[in-house]
């Protein structure tokens, strides 16, 4: 069975918020109607977003690291938001594992947002229904686009390719390779939600260089230049070696 998901590489994300703006742009212009945007340029900008980039500081000064952490719906394999929905508006698609909200059925009771430990759902203040990341379901199956374009807007926008998109149930997909080989993990595993989206951890890239790699072993004079030319009468390497 297919389970589409995002894999986000925290080692690569630079926190530029391009995924946030492109997500908002694509989804606010889509068929499902605009996403609320109140005071976008005013004092208290407020609105519905499917995706956010948060920033955390790990460690104590001076040994700190800044981690930029993009967060959207994780399209859990055991989504706690789905069984609690009283109308069936919240559902998980069998064919690709995307968790969606049917905006025509949602009554805006907010119960699903209580049931989501990640805070991935927001009530749209104008349409008064629950909204969340759709994994750009209106984009990834749009055959009028080129194959390159048929990826979620956030993935397309990421300038550092920190966001990968694919089927995590296909062991040979790019995302499965990334999860296996770079130690991909899920958020809040204690909640038993089995999020489909994975995160790749920060990795320390250390270049180990041995002494003899910077200093040539056959450079007794410690001069990394042209070796002194041996005299004509000197024995050559062939003369002194035994082979």
């Amino acid at each position: 069975m297919t389970q589409l998901a995002l894999v986000i590489d925290l080692n690569v994300c630079v926190g530029c918020h391009a995924c946030v703006t492109n997500c908002k742009e694509w989804n606010t212009s889509g068929e499902a109607g605009p996403m609320v945007d109140r005071n976008p340029y005013g004092k208290d900008p407020n609105g519905t977003f499917f995706n956010r980039v948060q920033t955390f500081e790990v460690g104590e000064f001076p040994q700190t690291e800044t981690v930029h952490f993009p967060k959207s719906c994780l399209h859990c394999e055991e989504p706690p938001c789905v069984p609690v929905c009283p109308t069936g508006a919240s559902y998980k698609r069998k064919e690709d594992g995307i968790v969606l909200v049917d905006y025509d059925k949602c009554i805006g009771c907010k119960y699903c947002s209580w049931a989501c430990p990640y805070g991935a759902r927001e009530l749209d203040a104008d349409q008064r229904v629950m909204k969340k990341c759709t994994l750009c379901v209106d984009r990834i199956y749009d055959t009028t686009m080129t194959a390159e374009e048929r990826r979620p807007a956030c993935v397309r926008a990421c300038p550092t390719s920190a966001r990968l998109f694919g089927d995590i149930h296909d062991p040979d997909s790019e995302v499965s390779h990334a999860i296996r080989e770079a130690g991909g993990y899920q958020l809040m595993p204690e909640c038993g939600t089995y999020p489909a989206n994975h995160y790749l951890p920060r990795r320390k890239v250390k270049l180990r260089i041995r002494e003899d790699e910077i200093e040539r072993a056959d450079n007794p004079l410690k001069i990394d230049g042209q070796l002194p030319k041996p005299g004509k009468a000197e024995p050559t390497l062939d003369d002194v070696s035994s082979w």
């Binding site: 609690v84 929905c85 109308t87 009771c109 119960y111 430990p117 990640y118 759902r121 958020l187 204690e190």
Partner: protein
């Protein structure tokens, strides 16, 4: 969580309505078996309709919780998985039974439907009473399970939630029934006030147990598991937004620890201690006014109690929303 007043009113009003119905049918059953003198049907009729009115007000309040109340009928469809959906079915069913129960007593249309083995007649109100009692308990369980089934809100995820909904609804309903009986059926007032005292005491034990449990809870989810980085010192520097959002509005009550503490002691006094005293005085002096005062104080206290119940629940999503910038 940020408590919604619609939910506070819904749960307290229907709880009292259910408790009142159970109290009425308790008296009717005692009378049917000859343990109490038979009461006038006006008492049951008015009680049944007050119960129906409370339930209707609760249902009315619940619509204010919805973003799209015009689609509310859809919420009855997912009873297989959703406790909210089950509540949406159980509440109107129970309302219907309580309405018919009141009407049957009001009009006196109360035919004997059959006989028990002992030869005791079974009236239509007895059948409605049994059905209503089953539905009242089913509704208590549905309402409470809406909260108790959310497993990572650990303050709610406990059998105590269900027990307390039953006990607190029962306590307020029996107090109301006692006040009503003081005016309409004085002979059964001591029994109802006595039961109200007992259920209120049990409610104090149950609610006290859940307060103690909640005070000792340690959150399972931490910032470490929330972002998956194993380090003791993680501080949020930015939540990614500055003007607030649904996430910052819905999941925190916005009150300080001091206010919360005074509300806690306030509801412990007004739901349990003061009504217990007033019920005792009313029981001894057979004073209707004191019993009415007891049930008013208790209901007002329950509003605070329900607000506190909703507020005192730590939602793990708050881990992601700690610092604006």
């Amino acid at each position: 969580m940020n408590p919604a007043y619609s939910v506070v009113f819904l749960t307290t009003l229907i709880g009292a309505g259910q408790g009142l119905f159970l109290a009425l049918f308790t008296i009717e059953s005692y009378a049917a078996f000859g343990l109490l003198p038979p009461q006038s049907s006006d008492f049951y009729a008015l009680g049944g309709e007050i119960s129906f009115a409370l339930l209707s007000l609760g249902l009315f309040a619940s619509f204010f919780h919805l973003g799209r109340p015009e689609r509310a009928w859809r919420s009855a469809t997912q009873w297989r998985t959703s406790w909210l959906s089950r509540e949406v079915i159980a509440l109107p069913a129970f309302m219907g039974v309580s309405f018919l129960y009141g009407v049957a007593h009001w009009t006196g249309v109360n035919p004997v439907l059959g006989e028990l083995y002992s030869g005791m007649p079974v009236n239509i109100t007895a059948v409605l009473g049994v059905a209503g009692s089953v539905l009242a308990f089913a509704l208590f369980v549905c309402t409470a399970m809406i909260y108790a089934c959310v497993r990572f809100i650990r303050e709610w995820h406990s059998p105590l939630t269900v027990i307390n909904y039953i006990l607190l609804g029962g306590a307020s309903g029996f107090s109301m029934a006692a006040a009503l009986a003081a005016y309409m059926a004085p002979a059964v007032m001591p029994l109802l006030a006595g039961w109200a005292l007992i259920i209120t005491t049990l409610g104090l034990i149950g609610r006290g147990a859940s307060l103690i449990r909640n005070a000792r809870l340690k959150p399972k989810s931490t910032l470490q598991t929330a972002i998956g980085i194993k380090h003791q010192h993680i501080v949020q520097k930015s939540m990614g937004l500055m003007g607030g959002s649904f996430n910052t509005r819905e999941f925190f009550h916005g009150q300080g620890a001091g206010r919360l503490r005074s509300l806690k002691w306030g509801f412990l006094l007004s739901v349990f201690v003061v009504p217990m005293g007033l019920l005792g005085v009313g029981l001894v002096s057979a004073s209707g006014e004191v019993l009415v005062l007891a049930c008013v104080v208790q209901y007002l206290g329950l509003l605070v109690e329900r607000w506190f119940f909703l507020a005192q629940s730590y939602h793990p999503q708050n881990l992601y929303y700690q610092s604006v910038s």
